[in-house]
Amino acid sequence: MAAPVVLSETEAVRDQLRDYIKTQMVKDPTYPLKDDEPLITGGLVDSFSLVELAVFIEDTFGARFDDPELTAENMNTVNQILSNIEAKL
């Protein structure tokens, strides 16, 4: 029997974040979202959804983003968002 796969905390957060973006924002659970794919300039997430994403992140991971942080420069990829979350935890 294979040893159970233990995801590191980062990977677990990454998966949840990706899952949320795919199902709630892109509305396509099979979408092959890349971690360095531009979310805002790539047209996957708009300004309204960004606020929604921040609410999800706060509720799920307890990392609070202040409104001025919600910009394309700061939140444009899964990797960027993830490192911002980690910096806050």
Binding site: T23, Q24, M25, V26, K27, D28, P29, Y31, P32, E37, P38, I40, T41, G42, G43, L44, V45, D46, S47, F48, S49, L50, V51, E52, V55, D67, P68, L70, T71, A72
Partner: protein, 580 residues
């Protein structure tokens, strides 16, 4: 008791004449409070018109003459307000262009400015400092040449301009065009709605009466100024009527929606206009901890306008904010368009708008709005429509069939209107003007019915999509996709589907491709989304690839938007996993 300066019985001839009165009578009163990232700034009418006169001087120094078109490519804020009025004081014709956002592709954005400038013969563009050089480069070579003026150059000017000097001139008559409103964000179809001083002032008089505007009202607004609701309700009307305006930028508000609520609280604002999605957005996106102690009891009307109105959105908003003092009687609705300056109808200012519960089948199939008795409601499928109110003073409405013959009450047809605040025409587009105007009537392209003197909107004749208050034409989106490798040219369709959670439409795109390769398909989807965002500033929520011949065509070989929308909802949307 002081009265409003502009009423149905008393209107100045031009906006400049009203500015002269305001500067003389209200110099020390608050014109605008700007809510900015680092706090608030208050401008009195004196300071406001002095700022405008500085712009008038700078524009005159660039050779701008009465009647010349001046386009503003500026962030929302003091400079946009002053630049707009500076052009007005000179008798020039200002128009506000949507500002570059995070999403938009710079090159495409500048192309759209160039198209407008070249097509309309714009004389001067007022630009923010960060866009000046790029704009100058992109607008080179247009004949006649256009001047690009950096706002910083204006702020630094002390050209000895006196406000009085400008206020005492008479550069425009009542029937001259005061300003242009661009009727859509679409580049290819951009139409400049020409509004005369007379039309604008008639409108301010009529709409003020419809909402019973009073001297102690205070308006709070985050709305964009390039759109009729923001420009007229959220800027021109309060300024002309001496009503304090608390103004924030839409970019700021969307990131931090609570600033509107606190601005209402702080300034005891009484009036606020919002598109339907904002009711949902405010109901769900503001953390309760961020509004502890908030008091919204000063609001006497929150007016839902510029998107289809949903009873459910009102309910969610009221449920969230009744605790903070929001009164149900403050819920209000309005049906508006730039072609009538702004409002066409308005619900009564002291009661929520009536709801009409009608038979769904009769509405869809017979184009009739048949009320359903309470007893039958549990068994007959119904649709609940929210009234947009009755026509404002000096505005007539009729609902017409396809031959433009008037229909009786409760029959669904195209809404036509006639008023004293209509457009003079589309700027340099007599063809487009002739399409929609005949015998003094303007044909709106919106569908609806009248019942008991109230107007109900049921849909649009055109396939226009409204996303978060912004108008998007599906053909503009489809045209962007023609040359994407892997897609069949002309075999993509865009349409709107209603999103109940957001209270607005989502954009859906269905496109045919032959490739089965997953990576290639992903790249195509990426390219579609990126192009839509970078060119139109809206996000395509659904991008769905299908095999060749999936899309339904009309008998003339065109892709049928409505039929494909139905097919997409049935085959794709309804089969998505349950959403949260």
């Amino acid at each position: 008791m002081p009265t409003l300066p502009i009423t149905l019985n008393r209107r100045p001839a031009t906006l400049i004449e009203q500015a002269r009165w305001l500067y003389r009578e209200r110099a020390g009163s608050t014109a605008v409070v700007l809510v900015e990232h680092d706090g608030e700034r208050r401008l009195t009418y004196g300071a406001f018109f002095e700022g405008a006169a500085r712009f008038a001087g700078a524009l005159a120094a660039c050779g701008v003459q009465p009647g010349d078109l001046v386009v503003l490519v500026l962030q929302h804020g003091e400079m946009a307000l002053a630049g707009f009025w500076g052009a007005l004081l000179l008798g020039a014709v200002p128009s506000i262009f949507p500002f570059l956002s995070d999403k938009l592709d710079r090159a495409r954005y500048f192309d759209s400015v160039r198209q407008l400038v070249a097509h309309s013969g714009v004389r001067l563009v007022i630009a923010s400092p960060d866009l000046e050089s790029a704009l100058r480069e992109r607008l080179a070579g247009i004949e006649p040449p256009v001047t690009v003026l950096n706002v910083d150059e204006v702020i630094g000017t002390h050209n000895g301009v006196s406000v009085q000097d400008y206020l005492n001139r008479h550069p425009a008559e009542a029937d001259a065009t005061a300003f242009l409103q661009h009727s859509s964000g679409s580049t290819g179809l951009q139409k400049g709605v020409m509004l005369s001083h007379r039309a604008v002032l008639n409108h301010v008089a009529a709409y003020s009466a419809a909402i019973r505007l009073a001297p102690d009202d205070v308006v709070a607004s985050w709305l964009p100024l390039y759109h009729d609701m923001g420009l007229i309700a959220g800027f021109i009307m309060p300024i002309l009527q001496g009503i304090p305006l608390v103004l924030m930028s839409p970019f700021h508000w969307v990131r931090d929606p609570k600033i509107l609520l606190w601005a209402i609280h702080e300034h005891r604002a009484t009036l606020c206009w919002l598109p339907n999605f904002a009711y949902n957005f405010l109901a769900t996106r503001v953390r309760p901890a961020a509004i502890h102690g908030l008091d919204l009891s000063s609001l006497r009307a929150v007016i839902n306008c510029s998107e289809p109105v949903y009873a459910e959105s009102h309910r969610a908003f009221l449920e969230q904010y009744a605790y903070y003092g929001l009164r149900e009687s403050a819920l209000a609705t309005c049906y508006a368009m730039a072609e009538n300056t702004f409002a066409v109808t308005q619900s009564a200012p002291d009661a929520p708008p009536p709801l009409d519960v009608v038979d769904r089948r009769a509405l869809m199939e017979d184009r009739l709005a048949v009320p359903v008795d309470d007893g039958l409601k549990p068994i007959v499928p119904t649709v609940t429509l929210v009234s947009c109110g009755a026509p404002i003073p000096n505005c007539q409405i009729q609902v017409v069939d396809e031959q433009r013959h008037a229909l009786p009450e409760r029959h669904i047809g195209e809404i036509a209107l006639r008023s004293d605040s209509m457009l003079s025409g589309y700027y340099r587009r007599p063809d487009a003007t002739a399409e929609v105007m005949a015998d003094g009537w303007y044909y709106t392209g919106d569908m609806g019915y009248l019942a008991g003197g109230e107007l109900y909107i049921t849909g649009r004749k055109k396939d226009l999509i409204i996303v978060g208050g912004k108008n998007v034409y599906p053909q503009d989106i489809e045209n962007l996709l023609n040359d994407i490798p892997g897609l069949h040219p002309g075999r993509a369709v865009a349409f709107g589907v209603f999103n109940e959670t957001l209270g607005t439409e989502d954009i859906a795109i269905v496109a045919e491709t032959d490739t089965d390769d997953l990576d290639a398909r992903a790249d195509i989807m990426r390219e579609i989304r990126a192009r839509v965002a970078q060119s139109t500033d809206v996000t395509a929520r659904y991008v769905h690839l299908v095999e060749a011949k999936w899309l339904i065509k009309t008998s003339s070989g065109k892709v049928a938007r409505r039929a494909n929308r139905e097919r997409f909802i049935e085959a794709v949307l309804n089969r998505l996993p349950e959403q949260r």
